[in-house]
Subunit: 414 residues, 2 copies
């Protein structure tokens, strides 16, 4: 077993080597990595079986499903890598250029982060997505996956590494941490001078642990307590479509809605329709209602914590508010600053909402489910940032880069 320290040292040297690798080299490597993934399908499935056998009975069926790979899923992972290879390079772009009166030419140029570490949980497909994205952004990547998926991740990384080698890229461009104890996560979080960017991908516990312990720069990704506010001036049928979609289309993801706030002037008309719409599907939604909503439609009385819970399930907290201002105040108090929507035909209410709501994505008359790298046209993503430093919302390859200033002169001094 290679120590985490050794992996960090290797990644750091690799980052320096990566600065002279071209986008063409990277794209060729990505394609070979995708091919290698497919050609190692047998090994990967065998490793995955071992993980699943070991996990059965110890984790929930939902988790087993997340862990499970199939030939189709591996092919999809390979396609994902090929798609990343077709994105334009985020490196070497002149973001800004200034010629100063003294003749200095100052260019702000995008460049790789250096070493990107990703700590994630049990979904083995994150292994290839994260590796491909970080590599495309020109960085060396360190993957630290969940214990339950270790064998699968190891087999995937071995396949990817074969592709990296075939392409002639630095051999440690993609590394997996073998130690799946907490020690290795902690070591990555504290690897000041080695890790330029740490991205935790997983549940709240993992993300808090990173925020709490990291001394390396870290991007918080996200939990989403997303709100849909149905304004007095909402088109009701549109509001019903949006809430239904935001809640039930895929309730387990972070951009699904957890809370519906309704303006009191339309509550009497809207809430019964909401109840009808959300109880009629194949998966009826449990409504946890504040007193005013409960008075209209019954359901389950909401406890205080229901407005601060990421249900990730067929459950929706419903509240009645007296105004758009009150909706915004509620959101300011309870949101995780991921995605919020207003449904309203009033331009004034829309503008007030978009200006005041402090979240990564603020929607007008659309479902919160669109907060996603693919849907935003960024190609793909490493997660959704809910912090304000560096990047907010979907983390595409551009968000995985930094910049430097290149200043050219002819002897200028101060």
């Amino acid at each position: 077993m290679i120590s985490t320290r050794e992996i960090l040292e290797r990644a750091k040297s690799t980052a320096t080597l990566m600065s002279t690798v071209t986008d063409g080299d990277i794209n060729r490597a990505l394609c070979l990595m995708a091919d290698s993934l497919v050609s190692h399908t047998g090994d990967i499935l065998a490793a995955n079986c071992a993980d699943i056998d070991a996990a059965r009975g110890r984790i929930s069926d939902v988790m087993i499903d997340r862990l499970k790979l199939t030939e189709g899923r591996i092919a999809a992972m390979a396609d994902g890598i090929r798609e990343i290879s077709r994105l334009p390079s985020p490196i070497g772009k002149v973001i800004d250029r200034r010629e100063r009166p003294n003749g200095l030419v100052i260019e702000k140029v995008s460049c790789p982060m250096g070493v990107i570490a990703i700590i994630y949980e049990s979904r083995p497909n994150v292994t290839s997505d994260a590796a491909a994205l970080a590599l495309k952004s020109g960085s060396a990547v360190i993957l630290r996956g969940g214990k339950e998926a270790y064998n699968s991740s190891r087999a995937i990384v071995d396949a990817l590494t074969a592709g990296v080698g075939e392409a002639g890229l630095p051999e440690f461009a993609v590394q997996l941490v073998d130690d799946t104890s907490r020690d290795s996560s902690y070591e990555l979080m504290r690897a000041k001078g080695y890790v330029d960017l740490l991205i935790p991908r997983g549940g709240r516990g993992l993300i808090s642990a990173c925020v709490e312990n990291a001394t390396v720069p870290c991007l918080e990704t996200g939990t989403g307590i997303c709100h849909v506010y149905v304004d007095r001036d909402a088109d009701i049928s549109r509001a019903l479509d949006i809430i239904e979609n935001a809640k039930v289309q895929r309730p387990s993801v972070c951009n699904a809605a957890e809370v519906c706030l309704v303006h009191r002037d339309i509550a009497k008309e809207f809430l019964p329709k909401l109840k009808e719409r959300l109880s009629s599907g194949t998966h009826p939604v449990e409504l946890r209602c504040d007193p005013a909503a409960y008075a209209e439609i019954g359901g389950t009385p909401a406890s205080d914590s229901d407005f601060d819970t990421e249900f990730l399930d067929y459950t929706l907290a419903v509240g009645v508010v007296p105004s758009v201002e009150a909706a915004i105040s509620h959101i300011a108090l309870h949101s995780t600053h991921h995605s919020e929507a207003i449904v309203s035909e009033s331009r004034e209410a829309q503008d007030y909402f978009t200006k005041r709501v402090d979240s990564a994505a603020v929607y007008v008359n659309a479902s919160t489910r669109f907060t996603d790298g693919g849907e935003f046209g960024l190609g793909c993503e490493m997660g959704i940032s809910t912090q304000k430093l560096h990047a907010r919302g979907p983390l595409g390859i551009e968000e995985l880069t930094t910049y430097k200033y290149i200043v050219r002169g002819n002897g200028q001094i101060r």
Copy 2:
């Protein structure tokens, strides 16, 4: 005394109010703050005298000088604020706009951070600079200054607050923390959900304490172990001018050079001239030489730590390297990733250096002393970032903002 918790609560509410304040309002407030600073000159000088009397004998003369205010310095602080008021607003800019095939219009719009906290040391002028910059960027600002300068900072903030009030801006837009014990710094570092951006301005101890303890997003500003590499193909007279300037023009600042690396092929010719040039000024420079340089020009033999020291003084570590690659490797190991320069007439060496050196600013044939908001044409700055996340190099007002996605639709669902 108002508790730090109360200050945090007030700042958070203020940040929400700030989202509807216009740039015109802010600029008017900045001008009134500048006027108020001047009209309170007497109060500020009296408070400053009290600080200096209390500090005398307890801190060095250099520190006393940093602490000392004069009518002229206060006028300069006021001018600095007026200059900031004339900068274009960094808020509300559409950074990117995409129309998606489904009709969604996605705009990435710059917006205020929210609450910016600055922890700084004994220079009271930072109080007004930092307040003005953070306010211009649309955020509420919390200042936590050094104990030695407390009375001065309090008097400055009282003057600024009078201007804020007169302009009708939210009254807690600028606040000073009264508690100058370590507790208050610690509380700011851990004020998750209250502080959106923490900026430490000061020595290495302060910055490490923030990096180590902060759970809020933090921008590391900088210590600078800056290198000047004199290539085989350097114009020697240009190289001498650049090193002299980078070393002696103002040795106490972070963009001053601390290390000179010389290609071995020109060491014999260059080093005696370097010695002559740096010993001839009003402040002779002590040269700490590695064995190869020592063999040419004597001086003080360098210890290992001399290549890892931010001297901030008339001292320069001098080393001989066999190639541009070796210079780059040395820099990778010893630099603080602030500013480095190559002096060379070879375009190939220049390009190799700018591509490979991983620092905020990489110079070709110019002094490292230009790494500065004003010199870069950013107007002014909050410090120099040496980290890669969010912002590198001079932190101007744009670097004090974040963005959000505003997504407009007409009922889109997934």
